[in-house]
């Protein structure tokens, strides 16, 4: 007999997330998945799930639900209150939940995204091997809505009892390590210094697609005469990636959900593959960091890449939070 999670109040945005669907980028499919992967894995571990089982990812405002059978839940990520049937329960711990009793993960006290794991995991039908909601392409289950019922596992395995979860330390200013990106040369020699010394703040229109930064604008992209050795291109066959001011090209607007960047005609580069954490600089000169629901290709220059180890903290940055980008140590590898 399977259990059902009934959504009572989805908050501003709550989605189902797991490890995402990497491996389909060549077909235009974003990777998606939990933005704060370690927090999602921890919530799963607390209730005895596999680390990449599907959980609920909230956005600032929490979520309210009930489960049709007695189960165990755990909340991690953004720190919030947790109440079960009106009784306060600990954040970051396995909590028993009787059948049918309302469970409320409150608004985030710090951070943005809380992760709610239910024993047995959320068992909506996977799409391309993942149960994640992709807010860019619409693949996967829709965002939670009041009254929606999601199948969940029936738990069973006894969760570990010895875990003590401590919220991540907060700092006044988040520092993200960045590696040089493939198109750093498009912004001229001063861009790297400006990128890695400026004080930025998180912009309000940040979402699962991109963390947008506001600060001193970077130089506008320039065509790089050194990039193309003269005579290399066959005459008369202008590649779509060539900088041709005033000539419109395809590949800069995206069918699909709301575009992460305004795409004027005649962007500098034709589209090319984008990595998670890519720091892209659109015409405004205000950089953005691509997160899990990023488009697979894009047209603006990618000047840096945030180290994978620092991406989970991007998931918890609020609008207005101060951010700096610092050069990663030359041979620094993730983890």
């Amino acid at each position: 007999m399977s259990a059902v999670l009934r959504v009572l109040d989805p908050g501003p945005l709550t989605t189902v997330q797991d490890g995402g669907r990497p491996g389909y980028a060549h077909l235009g499919v974003p990777r998606s998945g939990a933005l704060d992967g370690p927090a999602a894995a921890l919530a799963n571990r607390l209730v005895g799930n596999a680390a990449d089982a599907a959980v609920l990812e909230t956005t600032l405002g929490g979520v309210r639900f009930s489960v049709s059978m007695a189960t165990t839940v755990a909340v991690t990520g953004a720190v919030c209150t947790l109440t079960v049937g009106g009784r306060e329960e600990p954040w970051g711990a396995a909590v028993s939940v009787p059948a049918g009793v309302p469970v409320t993960a409150g608004p985030a006290l710090w951070g943005v995204r809380s992760y709610v794991a239910v024993a047995g995991g959320v068992l909506v039908a996977p799409v391309l091997g993942s149960r994640s909601t992709d807010t860019l392409s619409g693949l996967g289950p829709p965002p939670l809505a009041a009254g929606l019922e999601l199948p969940v596992g029936s738990g069973g395995r006894l969760p570990p009892s010895a875990d003590v979860v401590v919220p991540r330390p907060r700092s006044d200013e988040t520092v993200l390590s960045v590696h040089p990106g493939p198109r750093l040369d498009r912004l001229g020699p001063a861009a790297w210094d400006r990128l890695t010394t400026s004080a930025y703040r998180v912009a309000a229109d940040s979402n699962r697609i991109a963390l947008r930064l506001a600060g001193p604008p970077l130089p506008r992209p320039v065509a790089s005469p050194t990039e193309e050795p003269p005579g290399e291109e066959p005459p008369g066959e202008e590649p779509p990636g060539e900088a041709r001011p005033g000539v419109e090209r395809p590949g800069v607007e995206r069918p699909g959900a709301e575009p992460p960047t305004e795409e004027p005609p005649g962007a500098e580069l034709s589209s090319e593959g984008i990595v998670l954490g890519a720091v892209q600089v659109p015409h405004s000169g205000q950089p953005l960091v691509f997160l899990a629901d990023h488009p697979t290709t894009g047209g603006y220059p990618v000047v840096a890449v945030v180290d994978p180890a620092d991406l989970p903290s991007c998931a918890q940055l609020r609008p207005g939070d101060p951010v700096r980008l610092r050069p990663a140590r030359p041979n620094a590898h993730a983890r």
Partner: protein
């Protein structure tokens, strides 16, 4: 071929053009080197190797046979590659504009489009949105994109033809529409038009 840095787990390989990018992608698809990368993404003139455990291993693999030496000419279908016919009603809102831009009649535009053997160079922007190369002519994108383009719309932009898998905003010049289903998450592969697929557009009555 230039290897451009893209963080500790990826490298962006820049090549001379779309043909070379597709050829490199096809070499990867053919050889499927174990564990080299989780995502290999061809684009207009680059191929992204992402989810890489050993960047040196990618560099070594890339120094193997030059794909351009293997496929010297224009974009060509791989041996035994998929061929997809796209039945198209040529009544797009921008067909007349394309005819003016090309100094042709609309009938000649349709004949040019249906007489071309297209090849999917790469996908992007939405699941299953394929950039079909081969036209040999270009059209500029619309100055301002339409807020909504219906699924199945066949559009032109730059040197490419694309078919919108789902309704979305779009700035491509629409020449027609098809009833073909371009995306099915339950299918293998889920995209009808994958990189390297040969595409022929066939004119059909409304």
């Amino acid at each position: 071929m230039r290897l451009l840095p893209a963080g500790p787990r990826a490298v962006l390989v820049e090549v001379d053009g779309t043909e070379q990018a597709l050829a490199l992608y096809q070499r990867f698809e053919t050889e499927r080197p174990a564990g080299l990368a989780t995502d290999v993404v061809p684009a207009a003139r680059t191929v992204l190797f992402d989810g890489v455990g050993d960047l040196d291993a990618v560099a070594r693999w890339l120094s193997g046979p030059e794909p351009s030496a293997v496929r010297p000419s224009a974009v060509r279908p791989p041996a035994g590659g998929r061929v997809v016919e796209v039945p198209t009603v040529y009544d797009g809102a921008d067909l007349g504009d394309v005819a003016r831009l090309w100094d042709m009649t609309t009938e000649e535009v349709v004949a040019t489009h249906t007489g071309t053997t297209h090849t999917v160079a790469f996908c992007g922007f939405a699941p299953g949105f394929a950039y079909c190369a081969g036209l040999g002519r270009e059209v500029p994108r619309l100055a301002s994109p339409r807020p909504r383009v219906p699924a199945g719309s066949v559009g032109l932009a730059g040197p490419f033809t694309g078919v919108y898998p789902t309704a979305s905003p779009g700035g491509w010049r629409l020449v027609g529409r098809t009833r073909l289903r371009l995306w099915d998450s339950a299918a293998t592969p889920p995209a009808l038009l994958t990189p390297g697929t040969v595409v022929r557009f066939v004119a059909v009555p409304a």
